[in-house]
């Protein structure tokens, strides 16, 4: 690189090296403060909106699909299975292109944000439904039999007995999917949603600061994922069934 920078004094030795590094960091502070971080905060807000709206809807839809697959009558089962095959099989990027660029040609204009949101919900729910299906099927048959022997309808038995247990078992999978969601939400920028990654890309190419911009974004995602991980651990502990799940179990067994 051409050495046309302002400091004419050649930096010698380790002290000079650190000196010049410190100088270059200090000289970047205005860029971080006035340009990069404000843009990333805006992007983060959009990312959060996408994630926070997708997660519960993707979860509920996934649960509905999973319950339909395990307990539904035959036609409902097949529909649910088709849903999973289609939305799990279709690459999310392609799905987003279809929603954003394809649907307007048949008169459905969702717009950027809605396209991303709908795409994420479809994808997220398809994956969640598989985790949930596995969990539902792992609950012993006797649980539903006992519920029915007390006069509960099948729906009541599934809702009050099987699902609460299955949710606990599906939690690691579903939270994994939630963490994926945080990260694949960056795909929204291909349909012109300026979320975290999109915001960084704009700044990076405008100021030619690729390393700084994406390193900062990486840290943002890392923080989001770490917070989520703690949240999941808290949830797992809160809903652990004494004597069954969770690490140290305080019981009075054998008393």
């Amino acid at each position: 690189m051409d050495n046309l920078t302002s400091t004419p004094v050649p930096s010698d030795g380790p002290i000079g090296f650190f000196q010049s590094m410190l100088d270059s960091i200090i000289s970047q502070i205005p860029f971080w403060q006035d340009i990069l971080l404000p843009a990333l905060w805006d992007g983060l807000w959009v990312t959060m909106q996408l994630v926070i709206m997708t997660a519960p809807l993707g979860f509920l839809l996934g649960l509905l699909v999973a319950v339909s697959r395990v307990y539904g009558p035959a036609p409902v089962k097949w529909l649910a299975q088709l849903y999973v095959i289609f939305f799990r099989g279709c690459p999310l990027l392609v799905l987003l292109f279809i929603l954003y660029f394809g649907l307007p040609s048949i008169g459905i204009v969702l717009g950027s944000f809605m396209s991303a949101l709908v795409g994420f919900i479809l994808c997220n729910s398809a994956y969640n439904s598989e985790y949930l299906r596995g969990a539902l099927q792992s609950i012993k048959r006797g649980q539903l039999l006992a519920a029915r022997s007390l006069g509960m309808t099948k729906a009541q038995g599934v809702l009050y007995v099987v699902v609460p247990q299955a949710l606990r078992r599906a939690l690691p999978g579903v939270s994994n999917e939630f963490i994926y969601l945080i990260k694949y939400s960056s795909l929204a920028y291909v349909v012109a949603v300026i979320e975290l990654t999109g915001a960084a890309k704009i700044i990076a190419s405008k100021y030619f600061m690729y390393f700084e911009a994406f390193a900062a974004v990486g840290i943002f995602y890392l923080v989001l994922v770490t917070i989520t991980t703690f949240g999941v651990t808290w949830l797992e502990k809160k809903y652990a069934i004494p004597g069954v799940s969770g690490a140290a179990v305080k019981t009075e067994k054998g008393k």
Partner: protein, 247 residues
Amino acid sequence: MSDVPILKVENLCKSYGDLEVLKSVSFEVRKGEKKVFVGPSGTGKSTLLRCINQLTAPDSGFVYLNGEEIVHSGKKINAYRQKMGMVFQNFNLFDHLTAVRNVELALLKVKKMDRKSAREKAMYELEQVGMADRADFYPAQLSGGQAQRVSIARALAMDPEVMLFDEPTSALDPELKREVMEVMRTLAAQGMTCIVVTHEMKFATSFATEIYLMEKGEIVEHGPPSEIPTSPNFVKTRAFMGSYADE
């Protein structure tokens, strides 16, 4: 009381593929009677119980509860099932709920009782089986005998007219069997109508008003407990049942 039996089973048949599990089984139960079904494993005793409350659909035959046919009752079966408390070999307590919530769940969701009276009723039933002090324990924190007593309380909470016991002590250690049998005897003494499937011969003879001997899906013999253990058929069957018979 009229002389309509509480429960009447008529020509009940059930096959799994080529295997005929029940071959036209019929019997009647009147109020307060204790019918105990014994016989070798795999002779359809448990299937019979499940076909009575329709957890398993019979291929043909009829079941009458207080004179009403229930095999073809459609959605009304949920109401009928409340009248037939079922106790399973493996307890089948709801693993995610404490003992008291196991008992009150159906009170809340099926009987639509309010929280306070459901809790009172659940605690009362737990007291009946001596489990009130374990009300807040989860199933995994209970011994097998305790779990089975909670499951009996859960069935009793629905105020059933007849209790179906499906090998209630088979999964238990000898020590724990006794506490469950004790609860069943108390229940019987209070006049509860019971149908029991068991391998415990001693218990059967002291508990039953009538013993049914089943073999290969059929009732081969039945009679009061004073007669059955000495009947030729039973002596023959004893060999099949092996060690069970002497416990």
